[in-house]
C-alpha cells in the first residue's frame, strides 16, 4: 500500500513520511469506522449490533486500504508527473518478488481472518430455521415444528402480490406485524405466488419467501417503535408499494392488542398496490401488462399506514 521500493541504506526521510502517513491513515480509518454507525437505521433487533459492528470493522479496514491506495495515487500524481516536453522513461523497475509475495499473503490472511470472524458472527444470529417444500394447495404449516427457543409464535407471514398478512397463534390476523419487545419470535414465511423477501432494515434482517417452500425464521426485536417492513425481492408491478410496518411494543401492550383484536370483525386489510392499479384502470388500463393485485387479505386489524414510522 504505502510501502516503497526497498533501498540499500535506510532512508530516514522516507521512513518518517511513511510512518506519518500510516499513522494518519489509521486515525482516518478509525474515524470512518465510528462514523459508519450513523449510516444505519436505529438498532431494533438483537442482530443489528452484530451487523453494525461487523460493518464498522470492515469500513475501518476498507478505509485504511482505500485511503492508503488512493493517497499513494495522489502522491504519485503530485510528484511523478512528466514535464510537458519530458519524454524520458521512469525508473525501470520490473518488480520485486518479495514485495509481490507480501501483497499476496497479507490480503490472503486478512480476508481469511475477516471471513472466519464473520462466520462466527453469523452463527450467533440464529435466525434461519428449517425449510420444507410442499405442494401448493396443501397446508404447509403442519410440516414445521415451532422453533424451541422462541417465546412467541409461530406467526405466519404471508406475502402476496402485493400485500402482507400476519396470522398469530390465537388466530388473529393483521396487516401490520405486532411484536413484543425483547422476546424471540418465530415466523413461518409463506408465499403463494412469486418470490418475496421479508426485510426490516431496522432489524438488519432479510429472508426471501419462496413459493412452494415454508421457511421457519426467528428474530428478537429489542426496541419499541414502528419500523418499515419492505418486500426486497422484486415481485412485479407494484413491488415498491408492497410495504407495511412492524409495531414493536411492550409485552403488556402486545398481549392486550392480541386480546382486543381477536374480538374485531374481519375486514379488508392493507392493499398498498390497489390504489395505483385502480388509477391505471381509470386511465384505460394503459401501461405494460401486469397480473391484477391479489384480493386484500381479510384481517382483524388493518392497521394505520398514516402513522409515521421510526425507520
Amino acid at each position: 500500500m504505502t510501502t516503497t521500493t526497498p533501498k540499500k541504506s535506510p532512508n530516514i526521510g522516507a521512513i518518517v513520511i511513511i510512518t506519518i502517513a500510516i499513522g494518519l491513515n489509521l486515525v482516518i480509518a478509525k474515524m470512518m469506522a465510528n462514523w459508519s454507525y450513523s449510516w444505519f437505521p436505529p438498532q431494533a433487533s438483537s442482530a443489528a449490533p452484530y451487523v453494525d459492528d461487523l460493518f464498522a470493522l470492515e469500513t475501518g479496514i476498507g478505509s485504511f486500504i482505500f485511503f492508503g491506495c488512493t493517497g499513494f495515487m495522489g502522491w504519485v500524481l503530485l510528484f511523478n508527473r512528466a514535464g510537458k516536453y519530458d519524454e524520458s522513461d521512469g525508473a525501470p523497475i520490473e518488480g520485486n518478488t518479495k514485495l509481490e509475495i507480501t501483497w499476496t499473503i497479507i490480503p490472503l490472511v486478512t480476508v481469511f481472518l475477516i471471513a472466519t470472524y464473520s462466520m462466527n458472527v453469523n452463527m450467533k444470529l440464529q435466525t434461519l430455521g428449517p425449510k420444507h417444500k410442499y405442494a401448493i394447495g396443501t397446508d404447509p404449516t403442519v410440516l414445521i415444528a415451532k422453533d424451541p427457543k422462541a417465546d412467541v409464535g409461530p406467526i405466519d407471514v404471508i406475502a402476496r402480490q402485493w400485500s402482507w398478512e400476519f396470522v398469530y397463534p390465537n388466530g388473529v390476523r393483521s396487516s401490520e406485524l405486532h411484536l413484543p419487545v425483547d422476546q424471540r419470535v418465530n415466523f413461518r414465511l409463506i408465499s403463494e405466488d412469486v418470490l418475496h423477501s421479508f426485510f426490516v432494515p431496522a432489524f438488519r434482517l432479510k429472508q426471501d419467501i419462496i413459493p412452494g417452500s415454508i421457511i421457519s425464521y426467528s428474530l428478537t426485536p429489542t426496541k419499541e417503535g414502528r419500523f418499515r417492513l419492505r418486500d426486497a425481492m422484486f415481485s412485479g408491478a407494484y413491488f415498491s408499494q408492497n410495504q407495511t410496518n412492524v409495531v414493536v411494543e411492550s409485552e403488556a401492550t402486545y398481549t392486550n392488542w392480541l386480546k382486543t383484536t381477536a374480538d374485531q370483525p374481519l375486514q379488508p386489510g392493507l392493499d398498498p398496490g390497489r390504489a395505483l392499479y385502480d388509477r391505471r384502470l381509470a386511465r384505460g388500463d394503459k401501461g405494460w401488462a401486469t397480473v391484477p393485485p391479489a384480493p386484500p387479505p381479510q384481517v382483524n386489524d388493518p392497521g394505520d399506514p398514516s402513522i409515521p414510522h421510526d425507520a
Binding site: 500500500m1 521500493t5 444505519f40 437505521p41 451487523v51 470492515e58 491506495c69 499513494f72 495515487m73 504519485v76 511523478n80 508527473r81 512528466a82 519524454e87 524520458s88 522513461d89 521512469g90 525508473a91 525501470p92 523497475i93 520490473e94 518488480g95 520485486n96 514485495l99 501483497w103 499476496t104 490480503p107 490472503l108 480476508v111 471471513a115 464473520s118 462466520m119 444470529l125 434461519l128 412469486v194 418470490l195 423477501s197 432494515p201 438488519r204 434482517l205 432479510k206 419462496i210 413459493p211 412452494g212 417452500s213 421457511i215 426486497a232 425481492m233 422484486f234 412485479g236 413491488f239 415498491s240 395505483l276 391505471r280 394503459k286 401501461g287 405494460w288 401488462a289 397480473v291 425507520a311
Partner: protein, 562 residues
Amino acid sequence: MTITNYDPRILKAPHPVPGAPDNWKRFFSFNTDAKVIGIQYIVTSLFFLLVGGLLAMIVRGELLTPPADLVDPTVYNGLYTMHGTVMLFLFLFPILNGFNNLLIPTMIGAPDMAFPRLNAAAFWLVPVFATVLMGSFFAPGGPASSGWWSYPPMSLQNPLGHFINGQFLWILAVALSGISSIMGAVNFVTTIIRMRAPGMGFFKMPIFIWTAWAAQTIQLIGLPPLTGGAVMLLFDLSFGTSFFRPEGGGDPVLFQHFFWFYSHPAVYVLVLPVFGIFSELFPVYARKPLFGYKFVAIASFGITFLSMIVWAHHMFYTGTPNWMRHIFMFTTMLIAVPTGVKVFAWLGTLWRGNLRLNTPMLFCLGGLFNFIFAGITGVMLATVPIDIHVGNTAFVVAHFHYVIFNTIGLGVFAGIYHWFPKFTGRMYYEGLGKVHFVLTFIGATLNWLPLHWAGLLGMPRRVASYDPEFAIWNVLGSIGAFMLGVASIPFILNMVSSWARGPQAPPNPWRAIGLEWLLPSPPPAENFQDDIPTVINEPYGYGLGRPLVEDEEFYVRRSQEA
C-alpha cells in the same frame, strides 16, 4: 530482414474476401477481417450504450421524486429490465469482443482470427438479437419486466397469455447472445493458443491477451449452464413444463443457481479485459515496465478459477443453509487476493514513473480509483451478516455500478482513446477527451456514491417509488445520471469529428511497446502479412533499452513507410 519469418502453425486466413469492398461499405458487409469486425462491434455497442443510457435516465427521472409519478410502475419495471439487458448484452459484451477482435490478432502478430467466418457470424448475430430485444418493446404487454435476472415464478406470469410476449423474446435474445458469445470465445481462445508470433511464449504475451484468454475461458465454461437454464425457463414459460414452477413441483431457487453460475463470472468476463487495458496503459503512460508481470498474468487465471465457485453469494438470503453460506463467503473473499495483486501491481507501476496525464491515462486512473472502492464494498457484500442486511438494496446497485460502469466503463473509454489512432489512423482531440473524462468521473461518482447510503438505510433495489427519507440520495444520484448523459456529447463529437477529419496518426503516437504499435496506423489487412516479427523479450520493456522483437528497426521503418 525481409526473409519470411513464418511459423508453419499459423493458418493463413482467406482475406481479403474476393469482392469485399475496401471503403466504408465494408463495415456493413459480412467482412471477415478481425479489424473490421472489431470496429463493427464497437460502433454497434456504443449505439446501444446510448439506448441503455436513455433508458437509465428515464429510470433515474422516475426516482427523482419519492412517488411513482413519471411513468406507470409496469413501464418502470420494463425500462429498468431493458436497461440492464441492453447494457450487458448489447453494450458491454459486444464492446469487449470488439477490443478482442482489434487487439488479439495485432498484439500476438496473427494475420486474423483462427476462424474468420465464424467471427463474422458471431458479430452478425448481435444485430439479430438486438432486433429481437428491441422488438420486444412492441410485443403485446410490453417487454420483459422481471429484471435482468428473470427469476421465476415472476418471469413466468405472462399476464396476457400470448405465446409471443416480452419475456419470450427476452429469453430468445439472451440465448442468441450466448450463442454469439460462445462462437466468439472458441475463436479467441483458439487464436491465442495457436497463432502467436514466433518466440511469443505464454510469458511473453501482453497482459491484455492473458486477461482476454482468462475471460473467454469463463465464457466457455459458464455459458452452457446459463443457456440450459434459459431453455428450461423458456419451456416453463411457453410449453407448460415445471422445472421452476412451484405448482408443478418445480423449484424456483434452482433457476437462481443456473443463472448465477454464469452471471456472477460474467462480471469477471467483463472486468478481466479491463484489467488487461489497465495493465497495458499504465506502463505506457508511466513510462515504466509493468510491476510484477508474471504475478499479474497468473492472477488472471486465479480470478477465472475462483469466479466459478462463488455464485451462491447472490443467494445468502434465499434459505441457503449456513455451511453453504460460509463456503461461498470464503471463496468470494478470496477473489480479493488476485485482484489485490493486480491493484498493487498497477500502483507499483505508477511509483517513480514519469506520468503523462492524457485522456486514456485519466480514464485509467479514474477507473482504478473507483475499482479500489468497489473492491472494498465487494468484500462487505461477501460478508454474510452484512449481505443479509444490504443484499437486494440500493447498496448492491451502487456496488455493481461501481464495478460495471465506474471501473469497466471507464476502462473501456480508456481503451477506446488509447487505440483510436491505431485502428482509425486518426488522432482524437485531447481537449474534448478531457472534458469527457471530467464529466464522466464526476457524474459517475455523483450517481452511485450516494446510493450506498440509501441502501444502508434500507431502500430496496428495483423500486419505482420509495419512502421520502431516501429522497436526498436519489436526487443526487439522478443529477449524476443526467450528467453522464451530457458526458456522451463531447465523446460523440470527438469520435465522429476525429475519425472524419482528425490529424493523421503516426504508427506509434504514444511511443508504446507492443506488436500492434509496429504496424502502420491503421494496420493493413492481415497485419504483418508474411513477415511476422520474432518476439525476443517480455512486453513492457520501458526504460530497459531492450528490443521487443528481432530486427525491430526494420518493422518500425516499414510501419512508417506504409
